[in-house]
């Protein structure tokens, strides 16, 4: 029984390329998921019952169906309706849709946690609704949600490994090739595991630091 991680050395370039693809896909998916999540959170907290219902259904579906099934649905299904997307785009789309469901939970919690008095003050000063959302509700909700959103980002990174199933050569996909080449799957996948752990820790720590920075001097209770 030997463990020799040095056999990976010649493949670091390929693995780095895979890591870059993972990072890019996840960053895009985070942006997309955040935009979607904000929209859905607003729908879920809106006064309109149909909007709430539609948003709740979307979140319900994307949280109770496995990601790989969502991915295959899009990857094999979209070409049928004439949408020929490459693996990367399909992957980012799938991650964004799933991410949107999870971020909407967080943002919704952030919106509901805003002190009602603050919203009342905004209303009575004559501010129109869209300005209240843009300048008051969303900035406050997003600021308090940084840590939980970091957890969602971590989740996206871990889920992105599934994109290897549609032949995308992100980090896991690249590692599969290396494992096949070297006939040393244990070393390769062990290192891969550690790589993801490092990545997720880095993200969590950054989220914590960002949260502290954004909320410095700003968090308070009344009175």
């Amino acid at each position: 029984m030997t463990f020799d991680p040095t056999i990976l050395a010649p493949y670091l370039g390929d693995l780095a390329a895979g890591a870059r693809l993972t990072a890019l896909a996840c960053a895009l998916a985070l942006a997309g998921g955040l935009a979607l999540g904000v929209a859905v959170a607003l729908m879920r907290t809106s006064a309109s019952a149909p909007a709430r219902r539609a948003a709740d259904i979307y979140v319900d579906i994307f949280r109770n169906v496995p990601f790989i099934v969502q991915l295959f649905f899009l990857f094999y299904g979209l070409p049928e309706i004439g949408l020929e997307l490459d693996a990367f785009s399909t992957g980012v789309l799938a991650l964004s849709l799933a991410g949107g469901a999870f971020t909407s939970d967080t943002i919704r919690a952030g919106i509901l946690a805003i002190e009602p008095g603050v919203l009342e003050a905004a209303q009575v000063s004559g501010l129109p609704r869209h300005v209240i959302y843009r300048r008051i509700v969303l900035p406050i909700a997003l600021r308090t949600s940084v840590r939980p959103l970091g957890a969602v980002f971590v989740n996206l990174i871990l889920t992105s490994s599934i994109l290897s199933a549609i032949t995308l050569n992100e980090l896991t996909g690249a590692a599969k090739i290396v494992a096949a080449d070297t006939f040393q799957p244990f070393e390769v996948y062990a290192v891969l595991l550690l790589a993801y752990v490092t990545l997720t820790y880095a993200v969590s720590l950054s989220a914590g630091a960002l949260h502290r920075r954004l909320n410095r001097d700003r968090s308070m209770g009344n009175g």
Partner: protein
């Protein structure tokens, strides 16, 4: 009837896949519960070294993709241990371990949310650690942990879909087979998604019922 059409046999295939997914979910959940709770109890007893070791393992499993864990077990272990391992065996080992890690985290958190004073009071009354665990800690921890447990179980059900990637004939794999044969991805993946969705809802509902029964059991019935 053309070969690419659906047949009644396909319904049987789907049910078979469903059965495999459900069975693997049930088995790995039970094993995971057993292992995870044992870890948590060992930590409660402050067994040195083991407690830290399990905590570290749990962190690793929590912060890395399940797919990579699966590859490590299915592709890596056989080479390391110079033995063969079937897809089902790899699935059971990986999912049980993964579930165990999350159960451990939930259990530890639930135990910790029980106030220190209760444990001290029990001690003062002469209860042994085991008696305290059985009579004071466990019932309350179970009540605290049931909520997160429900979320975990629904999530682990989704995770079972990944075993299709290493060849287990679960619901997702059947979906892939049907997709390839009928070339009707929308129908196939929608049905597969729906079946997972229904299973998830079933789990959530069962847990909710368990929760009400647990609550009723510990409810204050008056003097």
């Amino acid at each position: 009837m053309r070969y690419t059409d659906f047949t009644y046999n396909d319904i049987l295939l789907l049910l078979q896949g469903l059965g495999v997914s459900a069975a693997l979910f049930a088995v790995t959940t039970l094993i995971g519960l057993a292992i995870g709770l044992t870890w948590a109890v060992l930590r409660y007893y402050r067994v040195p070294l083991l407690a830290q070791f399990f905590a570290a393992v749990a962190e690793l499993l929590k912060n890395s993709p399940v797919l990579v864990q699966l590859f490590l077990v299915f592709f890596g272990l056989p080479v390391l241990l110079e033995t063969d391992i079937t897809p089902v065996q790899a699935a059971v080992v990986t999912l049980s371990g993964n579930t165990a890690a999350f159960i451990y985290i939930i259990a530890v958190s639930a135990i910790e949310s029980i106030g220190r004073e209760q444990l001290e009071t029990a001690r003062v009354f002469g209860l042994s650690r085991w008696q305290t665990l059985r009579r004071v800690v466990a019932p309350q921890a179970a009540a605290f942990g049931l909520g997160p447990l429900t979320g975990l179980l629904v999530n682990q059900l989704q995770v079972t879909s990944l075993i299709s990637v290493v060849g287990v004939l679960d619901l997702t794999r059947v979906g892939a087979i049907l997709n390839l044969r009928t070339l009707k991805p929308f129908i196939v993946w929608a049905v597969v998604g729906l079946l997972y969705y229904l299973m998830a809802k079933l789990i959530a509902k069962s847990c909710a019922r368990l929760e009400t029964r647990l609550r009723a059991h510990t409810a204050w019935k008056g003097l």
